[in-house]
């Protein structure tokens, strides 16, 4: 019996998210007195694979196969279910990112495994197996009992601390066969932003709302973000107006993020906006309306005009970076 964790790679490299997943799986394995098996799919070299051992993986299974170089949710679910059966996995941990959301439900059907999705804490109890799950867009948290023999948990990004637990991991390479007829999705074109921090990965996010008044006023906000190593985001009206691309929209119907620091500039903080950012560890609000609801969710606030405060914040950050 083991806790299986799928660790996604990006062009052969793991990132913090992969280590959060293993740290979490290690936490679950401790509760179950079990071991952790990490599964990596696609081409990853041995030095990179060994890193998974630093966070508690006892066994690392690397599935290499040229057909698997592109993530296809049907093919990946088929490989993972095979490995899960072979390893007699009772709990499977997957990220709640786009890839995880595509794979987890398919794996669930293949293994008849109930899913606890968007989890941010270790299970509340083992018997019955109960998890703590974000519901109603963060306005209530549910205690969910997973009744099936095999359980799938999808972990919310940046919600579980990376813990170093060096383990002597063994690496096993397998060459899973993929039914070619499963590979039906054809990628025609890829447009990737380069040099920009991916919003859902960012530890700091600087976000602008209607208080920015015009798309022409974004320069100091972008500068502040760049000084802090932060990603930029925006509220819904801003993306609806086309001031910023819709990929930047954070909120209930946009991106749900959980950075360490969320700086909301000129955002009033409607329920729908807070639903996308309420899991941030710290929220800073800059708004000229002292009664704006955003201050109710912020730990630090400045009541003032966004366009006047931003340049001063830029100067203050420059001063500490010197």
């Amino acid at each position: 019996m083991s806790v299986l964790v799928y660790t996604e790679n990006w062009d052969g490299k793991f990132k913090k998210l992969s280590f959060e997943l293993i740290s979490y799986a290690t936490g679950v394995a401790k509760m179950l007195n079990s071991t952790v098996t990490a599964v990596s799919i696609g081409k990853v070299d041995e030095t990179e694979l060994k890193k998974l051992g630093n966070y508690g993986a006892n066994k690392i299974i690397s599935v290499g196969n040229d057909q698997l170089n592109i993530i296809d949710n049907q093919a990946y679910a088929s490989v993972l279910s095979e490995v899960a059966l072979k390893e007699n996995a009772k709990v499977i941990v997957i990220s709640n990112n786009n890839t995880g959301k595509a794979i987890a439900p398919r794996l669930s059907v293949r293994l008849k495994a109930g899913v606890g999705s968007g989890i941010s804490k270790l299970p509340l109890s083992l018997n019955p197996f109960t998890v703590y799950k974000r519901t109603y867009s963060g306005n209530a948290f549910a205690h969910v009992v997973i009744k099936s023999d095999v359980k799938i948990l999808t972990l919310a990004q940046n919600s579980y601390d990376v813990v170093e637990t060096p383990a002597n991991a063994t690496i096993e390479s397998i060459n899973a066969s993929v039914d070619g007829s499963l590979l039906k999705t054809q990628v025609k074109d890829v447009q990737k932003q380069t040099g920009k921090i991916v919003l859902t990965d960012a530890e700091i996010v600087v976000s602008g709302g209607r208080g920015m008044k015009s798309p022409d006023n974004w320069a100091p906000l972008v500068e502040l973000a760049s000084l802090l190593g932060a990603a930029t985001a925006c509220s819904r009206p801003v993306s609806d107006e086309g001031w910023r691309p819709h990929e930047e929209h954070t909120g209930q119907t946009g991106k749900i993020i959980a950075p360490n620091l969320y700086i909301a500039v000129g955002i009033s903080g409607a329920t729908q906006h807070l639903a996308g950012v309420s899991s941030s560890k710290f929220i800073v609000a800059v708004n000229n309306d002292k009664d704006a609801p955003i201050f109710g969710s912020a730990q630090y606030g400045i009541v003032g005009d966004a366009l006047k405060v931003l340049p001063k914040l830029v100067d203050a950050v420059k001063a500490i970076k010197k």
């Binding site: 949710n73 786009n98 959301k101 595509a102 987890a104 439900p105 398919r106 293949r110 109930g114 899913v115 999705s117 799950k133 519901t135 109603y136 867009s137 963060g138 209530a140 948290f141 549910a142 205690h143 969910v144 009992v145 009744k147 099936s148 999808t154 039906k184 999705t185 054809q186 025609k188 890829v190 447009q191 932003q193 920009k196 991916v198 859902t200 609806d240 819709h246 990929e247 929209h249 119907t253 360490n260 409607a270 329920t271 560890k281 710290f282 929220i283 800073v284 609000a285 201050f295 912020a298 730990q299 630090y300 606030g301 400045i302 009541v303 003032g304 405060v309 914040l313 203050a316 950050v317």
Partner: protein, 249 residues
């Protein structure tokens, strides 16, 4: 081409969620029920595709798993423009149960494109669309922010980490839809509301399926410490607090 749009019935997104006494459920008193926002956008896009005759979309059907009390939400979808509706007469107990029911509907009626919202705004599970596709053994494309039909062939745009991909996939398939698929949800006009009354809603009884998960209780999110205010003339103090108190920069 036949399109099926899966719709979920959720509290209006501005609702202040209250937990009922005993913490076992949500207090539904006074809640306005609406079509899940992403499902509403899916429906809008499906209707836009149908509006253009060159796409050869013959019908847009909505399917919903819920008891008779959820009919107003189905009527709303018909008023917006769906041609007909199917309601599976059962409470939507969990993703596994709902996906099992919808997969049965697809098996008996045959659709080319099945559209599901990326999540429901109540349970935030993100599971139903993917489960339907696996039950049916058909492809699914997730995080879809664009769907068009070119020369009879569906072309989708999906979001990936830090970018976008344009993909093609043969029908039938499930499109799991997110923001960007349609600009604004379509609103029902008076004529649509009148017409919705006479549009067919087929009620089917559920197949017997045991849910795999069960919610046994709710709790409120942990409350945050009160906001500490910093003088607008002195933002350097904020940076100092972020660096030395919160230790986040």
């Amino acid at each position: 081409m036949k399109i099926l749009v899966c719709i979920s019935n959720v509290p209006d997104t501005t609702t202040k969620i209250k937990i009922a006494e005993g913490n076992a459920s949500i207090d539904t008193t006074g809640i306005q029920w609406v079509i899940n926002p992403w499902d509403e956008l899916s429906l809008t896009r499906a209707l836009e595709l149908k509006d253009d005759a060159t796409n050869e979309v013959n019908s847009v059907t909505v399917v919903h798993v819920g008891p008779a009390t959820t009919e107003p939400t189905i009527r709303k979808a018909l008023a917006i423009g769906a041609d007909n509706a199917i309601r599976v007469n059962a409470a939507s107990s969990d993703a596994w149960f709902v996906a099992s029911q919808i997969a049965e509907v697809v098996k008996s009626e045959q659709f080319d494109i099945i559209m599901c919202g990326i999540e429901s705004s109540d349970f935030n599970g993100s599971m139903v669309g993917g489960m339907i596709s696996e039950f049916l053994g058909i492809p699914s494309v997730s995080a879809v922010s664009g769907l068009k039909i070119e020369n009879g062939q569906p072309v989708l745009t999906r979001e990936i980490d830090g970018g976008k991909e344009v993909v093609t996939v043969p029908a039938p398939f499930v499109a799991i839809v997110q923001k960007g698929i349609a600009k604004e949800p379509r609103i029902a006009a008076m004529r649509g509301i009148m017409m919705a009354r006479s549009k067919p809603v087929k009620v089917v009884e559920p197949v017997s399926v045991e849910p795999l998960t069960e919610i046994i209780g709710f709790e409120k999110p942990a409350s945050r410490a009160a906001c500490k205010y910093i003088d607008a003339e002195n933002p350097a103090q904020l940076i100092d607090l972020l660096q030395n108190e919160a230790k986040v920069i």
